[in-house]
């Protein structure tokens, strides 16, 4: 390689020379080999190797030009002479030096057998080279002149450099002048001297502007002066030489504290690190594999820790924390971007929040345990009723039967198939009358159960039979039909046939009147019937919405009608609306009235129970959200201050609901017992709840087809 380098350079030189020859450009530095050879052969031998001074190059270049142009006349003879000489000397080299391709990259001819064209337009063929690596190596080893052998790119021939040429190359490599005799450090001679001469250098007279003040400058100055006068240009400010830091709080004046400082909400400090941030935390703080996976899957904002706890053996092994700058930056953002707000932190003991209620033990008696289960119905039991004496219980079910039970023994005394879903059932509250109203499909059956005192139910039958039809037939919304003999044998005495399905029946306290609710959308929804006169009437002229249930006031002539969201209270004597209670519920399901008559509870399908104190307001006195699911039924106890609610979540909640005679004292409501027992089926739990008339017992019937007694 080392030998190849100078060779390559000299090859460059060669091409340069070629260029200079043809383009007529003068290249003084290019001591080309051909020029060198020329000079060698030239008469001026003292010029040395490649030291081609400009005139000589010119002289050398000229002959070629003269050859082509033939119009140079000034030195024609001389050149001719030189040319002649040249031809004589260099005749052997002539054909391979002249390559007419010009200054082009010679790689273009790589794939051709020739390397260019000579002056006659003939191809110049490359010298046959079939040396392989081995030959090259052998030549390198054997040929002592190998290091000074270079390849001429233009012709492809090998050229051996002379000593002078090698010397020239070395000089150029060292950055010296090619000419040995050239002295680059000749003393400089100043053109002008620094000494003052007595005579001017030129004889030119002085300009006028050299002795007349400049107008432009004057203008500029006057502008500056004006600007200074106007205060536009200010003198340089003196450097402020107060110290950068001094005692800023030397005079702390409490009066100077701005009022807004009191309003200032200081930024919360950053959270101090816990054990898990340590470089060597206790092992329980390290995340397990699952925890790590969970951490990775969480959103960065949701993560509880913003890093994964890690353990390092020693302090030396702790790496840099890559998010350090991020965290500082986020803190900065928090400081200036985060809205701040004063928040009052609730600092209460949760035990204090629990209201202090009287203990349930102090509020006894109330039902606490499940005592009896009445089994027999094959489908869900929708309704319950108990006789005024408290000895008998009647239940109506979806299996199309009504069953009469003895309360104390849970024995089914009687089964009455009615051929339809029993929606509602109600025992006559009058103890002297033994009659049960059963709402089945489109009719209300009045049934004499024939249970208990024979005299009593005999008297009831007599009472019913003593009816004398009035002379003139009055138009009635329903039809009163006496039972057929077959039905009579079963106990059914009368049928009140409605036009639509009956939803509910309820007796008045005296036991003569009863009301029925029909699922209809018209004003015919509520009907009031009189048993003794077999006479029905429609109390309302206009429908106020879907009626859910109705209720008679136990003492006074009031009538309660519950629609979806309101409970309306009508005075039956005056025939007017006295009150409208807002239940705050979405859909009322059931309603019960306190035996005192001043308080009402409403259960609703949105699992709320509203207690109304009629004296207090038309809004609920309290809204109890004890149940998790829809309320189906609510009930008051006749004697004891108890009420119960039954819900679809399968529970019956018994509450103590004390109403005081003192009007100033509000009722006291305390839940005392949660009774469980019914298993919810078909998303239905307990469907009806009822208190025993004399004992603190509660009956409940559920979707599982059982009736239960809690005592």
């Amino acid at each position: 390689m080392e030998q190849a380098r100078p060779g390559g350079e000299s090859a460059e030189e060669l091409t340069d020379s070629g260029e200079s020859v043809y383009s007529g450009l003068e290249d003084s530095g290019s001591g080309s080999s051909s020029a060198g050879e020329d000079s060698d052969s030239d008469s001026d031998a003292e010029d040395g190797p490649g030291g081609s001074s400009p005139p000589r190059t010119h002289a050398k270049g000229a002959p070629r030009k003269s050859k082509t142009l033939e119009d140079d006349s000034s030195l024609k003879d001389d050149e001719d002479l030189l040319a002649q000489n040249e031809y004589e000397e260099d005749s052997s080299d002539e054909e391979d030096i002249r390559n007419t391709v010009g200054n082009i990259p010679m790689e273009w001819y790589q794939d051709f057998p020739h390397i260019g064209y000579n002056l006659d337009g003939k191809k110049i063929y490359k010298p046959i080279r079939n040396k392989d690596e081995l030959d090259m190596f052998l030549e390198k080893m054997e040929n002592p002149e190998y290091w000074r052998t270079v390849q001429d790119k233009m012709t492809g021939a090998d050229i051996k450099l002379t000593d002078e040429q090698v010397e020239l190359v070395h000089r150029l490599q060292r950055g010296q002048f090619g000419d040995v005799h050239f002295n680059p450090y000749e003393p400089a001679v100043d053109f002008f001297t620094h000494e003052v001469m007595i005579h001017p250098v030129t004889n030119r007279p002085a300009d006028k502007r050299s002795f007349i003040p400049s107008l432009i400058e004057k203008e500029k100055v006057s502008k500056l002066v004006h600007a200074i006068k106007m205060g536009w240009i200010k003198p340089r400010k003196p450097k402020d030489d107060t110290p950068t830091y001094y005692d800023l709080w030397a005079h702390e004046d409490p009066n100077s504290i701005l009022g807004r400082h009191k309003m200032h909400v200081p930024a919360p400090k950053m959270k101090l690190p816990g054990h898990e941030e340590s470089y060597n935390p206790p092992p329980e703080y390290l995340l397990s594999e699952e925890e790590k996976l969970a951490w990775e899957q969480q959103e960065p904002a949701e993560r509880k820790l913003n890093f994964v706890p890690q353990q390092y053996r020693c302090l030396r092994a702790v790496p840099a924390y890559p998010r350090f700058i991020h965290e500082r930056f986020e803190r900065c953002l928090d400081l200036y971007l985060c809205p701040r707000q004063r928040k009052m932190r609730v600092n209460v003991d949760p035990e204090d929040l629990i209201p202090k209620l009287p203990k349930p033990q102090d509020l006894q008696p109330f039902p606490t345990t499940q005592a009896l289960i009445y089994r027999g119905h094959s489908s869900l039991v929708r309704c319950l009723s108990v006789s005024p004496s408290g000895q008998w219980l009647v239940s109506g079910s979806d299996d199309g039967t009504v069953r009469f039970w003895e309360v104390c023994t849970a024995r089914c005394m009687k089964t009455l198939p009615v051929g339809g879903v029993v929606k509602s059932i109600a025992w006559n509250p009058n103890p002297t009358v033994c009659l049960v109203a059963v709402g089945v499909e489109q009719s209300v059956l009045l049934v004499n159960p024939c249970l208990g005192d024979k005299l009593l139910y005999g008297a009831t039958d007599q009472l019913l039979e003593s009816y004398v039809a009035p002379e003139e037939e009055r138009v009635q919304p329903v039809q009163w039909v006496t039972a057929t003999a077959e039905q009579h044998g079963k106990g059914v005495r009368l049928l009140v046939q409605h036009s639509k399905a009956v939803k509910q029946v309820t007796w008045h306290g005296k036991g003569d009147y009863f009301a029925s609710v029909v699922s209809d959308n018209s004003n015919m929804q509520v009907l009031i019937h009189q048993t003794s006169k077999r006479w029905s009437q429609n109390p309302f002229r206009k429908s106020k919405g879907l009626v859910q249930c109705v209720l008679f006031h136990p003492i006074r002539p009031y009538f309660f009608v519950a629609t979806q969201r309101y409970v309306r209270v009508y005075n039956l004597l005056k025939q007017e609306l006295t009150k409208k209670l807002m239940t705050n519920c979405k859909w009322v399901s059931s309603m019960a009235i306190h035996p005192g008559g001043d308080n009402i509870i409403c259960g609703s399908y949105d699992s709320k129970l509203a207690w109304f104190d009629l004296d207090l307001s038309t809004r609920p006195y309290q809204l109890l959200r004890h149940h998790k699911k829809a309320l189906r039924s609510v009930a008051f106890h006749k004697r004891y201050p108890l009420f119960a609610s039954a819900s679809d979540d399968g529970t019956v909640i018994v509450c103590h609901g004390m109403v005081y005679n003192d009007l100033l004292q509000n009722p006291l409501l305390v839940p005392v017992k949660v009774l469980k027992g019914h298993t919810p089926t078909l998303d239905l739990g307990v469907l009806a709840v009822l208190f025993h008339p004399t004992q603190p017992w509660v009956f409940s019937s559920g979707a599982d087809g059982t009736v239960r007694l809690y005592t």
């Binding site: 340089r236 400010k237 830091y245 001094y246 005692d247 800023l248 709080w249 702390e252 100077s256 701005l258 807004r260 930024a267 400090k269 950053m270 101090l272 690190p273 054990h275 941030e277 340590s278 470089y279 060597n280 935390p281 206790p282 092992p283 329980e284 890093f307 706890p309 890690q310 390092y312 053996r313 020693c314 302090l315 030396r316 840099a320 924390y321 998010r323 350090f324 991020h326 500082r328 930056f329 900065c332 953002l333 400081l335 200036y336 971007l337 985060c338 809205p339 707000q341 609730v346 929040l353 629990i354 209201p355 349930p360 959200r625 004890h626 409501l669 305390v670 839940p671 017992k673 949660v674």
Partner: protein
């Protein structure tokens, strides 16, 4: 009726707030300038109580500033400086564009600059206010002082930050006010008590930062600009309070001592000055020569309503604090070259220890490795070959743990190559019901003066002796009883089987657990009472109970994890022991 119609959103809270864009327009500032102003003046958005009212009925998310704050900004002289600076930049650019170099020079001479002194005073009217807000300032300065000198921010800022940080550290050393240190995976947390205020800051480990691209350094630089001003003033005041010279000077006596040690050709005095200071090994010069070192006995005035017990407790606390301050008094440390020099030197000096390091490591080394008076040699490599007799070779965690424990811990756990005990955070104070790691319990016992080591060792021995018994003991007593019963029953059964083919099972006596019944009743009462709670209270109650339950759950989880880990370790130990025996 009469009167004008009342328009909505023209009174009340709607007029007290202003959105960010409107504020910007009112101040006639560009967004970056507005940001700068807010950062410097400490103006932050407020969250209105009724967002919809303020937002004119819309619920779109917007940031609101108090109108009063923005009006307050209107009078700020710095706003004018911002504008001046903008004009200056414009002029300079023009001059450069026209190649008017003289104009450029003139402009640069008159470059508008502003000072933040008045803002510091205004934001922190008293010195204590400034101390309370020092956390972020310190953390930021310590971070910036570790930045490389190229790019990201001005070199002057970095140098200033470094200077201020070093000054503060020197103050902490001089006042012995460091209280807690914590080596976390993020960096090193320090907590000092400066004039009664706890000041916490974090420093990164000394590694080159790879600068994140999603961080706006301009915001950080603006914060740093303010923080450096604040910290400078605070430092001045703190130095003054200790009668130290500010800017700090190394005590002439120690200075003279240092000189020959460090050699003659190190650097110019002005250059090496900060380095010497940051070596943290020399004490500082005082304005008044400390005439008597022993502090004056403070007269004690009993505070009204304070009982003698309380006073005693206070006195004890004071004594403990004094003792803590002199934790390393009289100890001579030597830091090997692989341990982080600055934090260790800082901590050791803060508690009165003497510290030195290899001379080639840093300027300011006071004694050599070979010094026989060295008591503790801090190393962080698995083994040290030529060990000198008469000194402890310890891992650096010993220093930090001792500081946090407020006593010199037994050295055995911290020898080089030993598996270190966990490093606990000193910032956690466990309340009742929280999980406390066993190491912490041990430490607390040690602080009370008990010696838990012996006990635990004994326990270990016992455990090894009768491991089987231990296991049984661990189980609940009730289970034991049940087992006993079962055994008895079985015995009875077998006996009866032997005696007669007819089976007579003894009637089970159903014991009514009165306590349990009572408990059940109570819990039922509670459930019923909870039913009667008002909706709002119930919500609150549920929330609180949820939080409590979660806490308990987490504590239980940690305890279970620890137990599992301990048993695993024990098993391994046993195995290895067996293997050794075999």
């Amino acid at each position: 009726m009469g009167g004008l119609e009342k328009k909505k959103y023209e009174r009340g809270s709607a007029t007290n707030y202003i959105t960010r864009n409107r504020a910007r327009k009112k101040l006639q500032l560009s967004l970056p300038d507005f940001r700068r102003l807010c950062i410097l003046k400490g103006i932050y958005p407020h969250e209105p109580k009724h967002k919809k009212k303020v937002n004119k009925g819309s619920t779109a998310p917007r940031t609101f500033y108090l109108l009063k704050d923005i009006k307050f900004l209107l009078h700020e002289p710095i706003v004018n400086k911002f504008r001046e600076y903008k004009v200056f930049v414009r002029k300079l650019r023009k001059a450069y564009g026209k190649s008017e170099w003289s104009t450029v020079d003139r402009l640069k001479d008159n470059k508008p600059s502003y000072k933040l002194d008045h803002i510091v005073k205004e934001r922190y009217p008293t010195f204590v206010d400034a101390l309370r807000d020092l956390d972020d300032a310190l953390s930021m300065c310590f971070l910036f002082s570790t930045f490389p000198r190229t790019g990201k921010c001005h070199v002057q800022t970095i140098q200033l930050c470094r200077r201020l940080a070093v000054e503060f550290m020197n103050y902490v050393i001089a006042s012995r006010s460091l209280r807690k240190v914590f080596l976390s995976i993020k960096g090193i947390y320090y907590q000092a008590e400066v004039l009664g205020q706890p000041v916490t800051w974090i420093t990164p480990y000394t590694f080159a930062h790879d600068h994140p691209t999603d961080v706006d350094y301009r915001v950080m630089a603006t914060f740093t600009e303010f923080y450096t001003t604040l910290l400078g003033f605070v430092n001045f005041r703190l130095y003054q309070s200790l009668n130290l010279v500010y800017p700090p000077k190394i005590d002439s006596q120690t200075d003279a001592e240092l000189k020959p040690a460090e050699g003659t050709e190190y650097a110019m005095d002005s250059e090496s000055y900060l380095e010497k200071l940051s070596a943290l090994s020399a004490s500082l010069a005082r304005v008044l020569a400390p005439a008597h070192e022993d502090e004056m006995e403070m007269d004690e005035f009993p505070v009204e309503g304070e009982t003698a017990e309380q006073m005693d407790a206070r006195k004890q606390e004071q004594e403990a604090l004094e003792k803590h301050k002199k934790l390393f008094e009289g100890l001579r440390f030597f830091l090997n070259r692989e341990v982080p020099r600055e934090p260790l030197a800082f901590v050791i000096r803060c508690f009165g220890g003497q510290v030195s390091w290899d001379k080639s490591l840093c300027i300011g080394a006071t004694y050599d490795v070979t010094d026989p008076s060295i008591t503790h040699h801090i190393v962080d490599r698995p083994r040290v070959e030529p060990q000198v007799v008469g000194r402890y070779y310890l891992q650096p965690q010993w220093v930090f743990d001792s500081v946090n424990a407020k006593l010199c811990l037994p050295v055995a756990d911290y020898f080089p190559g030993v598996l270190l005990p966990p490093h606990l955070s000193p910032f956690v104070t466990e309340q009742e019901g929280d999980y406390i790691p066993p190491e912490k319990l041990k430490l607390l016992a040690m602080q009370r003066g008990e010696n838990p080591d012996d006990e635990s060792e004994e326990e270990d021995e016992e455990e090894e002796e009768e491991e089987d018994d231990d296991k049984e003991e661990e189980e609940d007593e009730s289970e034991k009883e049940e087992e006993m019963k079962l055994k008895k029953m079985e015995e009875q059964k077998t006996q009866s089987n032997k005696a007669l083919p007819v089976k007579v099972t003894a009637g089970k006596v159903r014991l009514e657990d009165k306590q349990r019944l009572e408990q059940e009743q109570q819990s039922e009462e509670k459930r019923l009472a909870i039913m009667m709670m008002k909706k709002r209270e119930k919500y609150l109650y549920k929330k609180i109970m949820f939080g409590k339950k979660r806490k308990v759950r987490e504590a239980n989880k940690l305890a279970a994890k620890r137990k599992a880990h301990d048993t695993a370790v024990k098993e391994e130990k046993k195995k290895s022991k067996k293997a050794r025996r075999a």
